[in-house]
């Protein structure tokens, strides 16, 4: 085995430039795939985290009649005595925060400009509202008893030409199907990292939201954050009720999960295409080596080397090329992934309802992705050696010995 590897190493050294560029091709392919995998993984994690923090929470407790796509404000579709329900939920061990929230549709008007928004009534003091407090980029945060103040996203403010202290008119649907309009003052601007969310969300204290929508003592949902994302099962079991349903973050973020699964499947195809292309470089290198060393193969066969051992020789060369390429790939890929992890890439405004995407993508390379890519690269390299190895092993010694004469 050692002799085989020694021979393989020396044989690759006969044409160092060719061997280097073969390994480099594999290395660049691997580096790009590591970057792609880490960017996609990072983006999916970011989207999921953002959605949990801003939209879904880890759990939501709502009326069995509530349809989140309709934002109904009819009392029978809402949670009654939400503070009491939230308090009960907060007493469970895995619960970090439980806060009532009210969702309504509205229109913001200023001068001649209007914009459709989702009105979000929150408990400003709750831990669950921390993203808005922490995301404040100008002005002041809300207090629970503020009857005239709202927070809007910086993106929405930019579009409507608004700033802190400006007044806006907000028109909202009410529980009896009417529309109510009131004047509010912008207390502050927030930026969550998701331009779509910042453009479409207006925040006010839940008490004010209940007043404007005539849904006193009711909430659309109890927004729940847990200490661990995967602790949903015991909390769901504890909250079973005839009137209320408990929905987990997995269910509420099915779109993200489906996008993640689809992108995983798509990525496998990309992996195989990229590695397949780099494998052709290895095939070419080894086939050239076979033809250059035909007589030598004949000599080895003449002194009694079996075809299988001749094959092993070329697999050893392919293994060394693969190891060299993987090393190069890890170095190059490591640099690129590190940059993408800590600096990220600005991508601008993306995102749709149900799929929040930050304006900056950060990479996240998992050990599983790295190991699976390395193994795939190695296996593809070995497969690339199959044809040249078979070619060499099946040469007739007589023909091989006299080649070039």
């Amino acid at each position: 085995m050692i002799q085989l590897i020694k021979m393989a190493y020396r044989d690759l050294g006969r044409n160092r430039r060719r061997s280097f560029f073969s390994a480099l091709a594999l290395g660049i392919g691997l580096a790009l795939l590591l970057l792609m995998a880490s960017v996609i993984q990072g983006e999916m994690r970011s989207s999921m985290d953002m959605s949990i923090q801003l939209q879904s929470g880890h759990l939501q407790v709502r009326s069995v009649n509530y349809d989140p796509d309709k934002n109904s404000l009819a009392w029978e579709d809402l949670v009654e005595n939400p503070e009491q329900v939230a308090s009960q939920i907060s007493s469970l061990a895995p619960v970090k925060a439980a806060s009532p929230r009210l969702f309504a549709s509205g229109i913001v008007s200023v001068a001649d400009e209007t914009a459709g928004v989702s009105i979000l009534g929150i408990d400003p003091a709750s831990e669950a509202s921390a993203p808005y407090r922490d995301g404040l980029v100008s002005g002041d945060y809300l207090t629970a008893d503020d009857r005239e103040g709202v927070l809007i996203g910086r993106k929405l403010a930019d579009i409507l030409g608004l700033s802190t202290g400006d007044t806006i008119s907000v028109m909202a649907n009410t529980s009896n199907g009417d529309v109510d309009e009131q004047i509010f003052t912008i207390r502050g601007l927030f930026a969550t990292g998701s331009p779509y969310y910042d453009q479409t969300t207006l925040i006010m204290p839940i008490s004010k939201a209940q007043a404007i929508t005539q849904t006193e003592n009711h909430a659309s949902t109890i927004f729940v954050l847990l200490t661990e994302r995967d602790m949903t099962e015991p909390v769901v079991a504890a909250l079973k009720s005839d009137k209320l349903e408990v929905v987990t973050w997995r269910t509420m973020n099915e779109l993200i999960t489906q996008v993640e699964q689809m992108s995983s499947g798509f990525m496998i195809v990309i992996y195989l295409i990229v590695l397949g292309i780099t494998a052709t470089v290895i095939v070419n290198t080894l086939v050239m080596a076979v033809f250059e060393r035909t007589r030598e193969i004949g000599i080895l066969a003449a002194i009694g080397m079996r075809g299988s051992r001749i094959m092993a020789m070329f697999f050893a060369e392919s293994t060394l090329l693969a190891l060299g390429g993987i090393l190069i790939g890890l170095v190059l890929g490591g640099i690129m992934v590190a940059y993408a992890t800590y600096v990220g890439f600005y991508i601008g405004d993306f995102g749709i309802e149900g799929l929040l995407i930050g304006d900056r993508i950060y990479a996240y390379l998992t050990l599983t992705d790295a190991v699976s890519l390395i193994i795939t690269a190695f296996v593809v390299s070995l497969l690339a050696a199959l044809y040249p190895a078979l070619l060499a092993s099946r040469m007739e010694p007589v023909t091989a010995l006299h080649s070039g004469e």
């Binding site: 021979m7 020396r10 003449a302 002194i303 009694g304 010995l401």
Partner: protein, 242 residues
């Protein structure tokens, strides 16, 4: 004792629609310890005969026996095993692996035979001494002269203690002094170890060393003369004639 025996051996090469009869019903027997030359002009079939005895090729018809075993219809792996165990080769173009040192080239057949490191080391050193190349064991072929390379090839052929050494034009690429050195080495090893040497040549200077000369022409044996250079003095005289 017979080392190799050929019965009604024929070899026909077919290239496209052209058939070439390289050997035609050849019969030959090689005894243990012989130092035999197969001679003849180009195309006489001497290389083909050597390749068939050496299990590098398969006959179209007839039988080949090596050490009493019929090797005519062995498959590729079986022929490789036969070559590894019983037959050593010396080629016209030295046929050394360029990335291996002289030591490693000689060691290769022992590795293929699965010998342990201690055995390999002892045997390789013995062979390097036999061909007087102890000081060049770490040199690669591009660092050796033609004669030295051929002596490494001889050592490699002998290292597994085969029953039979087959040499195809062993001095064709060597100048006269190196050719003489190589032939003298082969003669000495034949006498010291008793290994059978059969070599194909058309060089009269080389034929002088043979104790038996089998002449081929157009794929058939034309003559078979033994007893040549059997007298050591004649041997020495033959050497001095080159």
């Amino acid at each position: 004792m017979e080392v190799a025996k050929i019965e009604n051996l024929s070899r026909i090469y077919t290239i496209g629609q052209m058939e070439t009869r390289a050997l035609k019903n050849v019969n030959l027997s090689i005894e243990n310890g012989e130092f035999t030359a197969l001679v003849g002009p180009s195309g006489s079939g001497k290389t083909t005969l050597l390749q068939l005895i050496g299990c590098l090729d398969q006959p179209t018809s007839g039988k080949v026996y090596v050490n009493g075993k019929d090797v005519s219809q062995l498959n590729r792996n079986q022929r490789a095993d036969m070559r590894r165990g019983a037959i050593g080769f010396i080629f016209q173009f030295f046929a050394l692996i360029p990335t291996l040192t002289a030591y490693e080239n000689i060691e290769m057949p022992l590795l293929l035979n699965g010998k342990n490191p201690a055995e390999r080391q002892a045997r390789v050193k013995e062979m390097l001494k036999a061909v007087e190349l102890e000081d060049h064991s770490h040199h690669r072929p591009d660092q050796l002269s033609g004669g030295q390379q051929q002596r490494v090839a001889i050592a490699r052929a002998l290292v597994t203690q085969p029953a039979l050494i087959l040499a195809d034009e062993p001095t064709a690429n060597l100048d006269t002094p190196n050719g003489k050195m190589v032939m003298e080495t082969m003669v000495r090893l034949n006498q010291e170890t008793g290994v059978t040497f059969v070599f194909a040549t058309h060089d009269p200077r080389v034929i002088q060393y043979a104790r038996r000369v089998v002449t081929l022409r157009d794929g058939m044996i034309e003559s078979d003369e033994s007893g040549l250079a059997a007298n050591p003095e004649t041997f020495a005289e033959s050497s001095m004639m080159i």
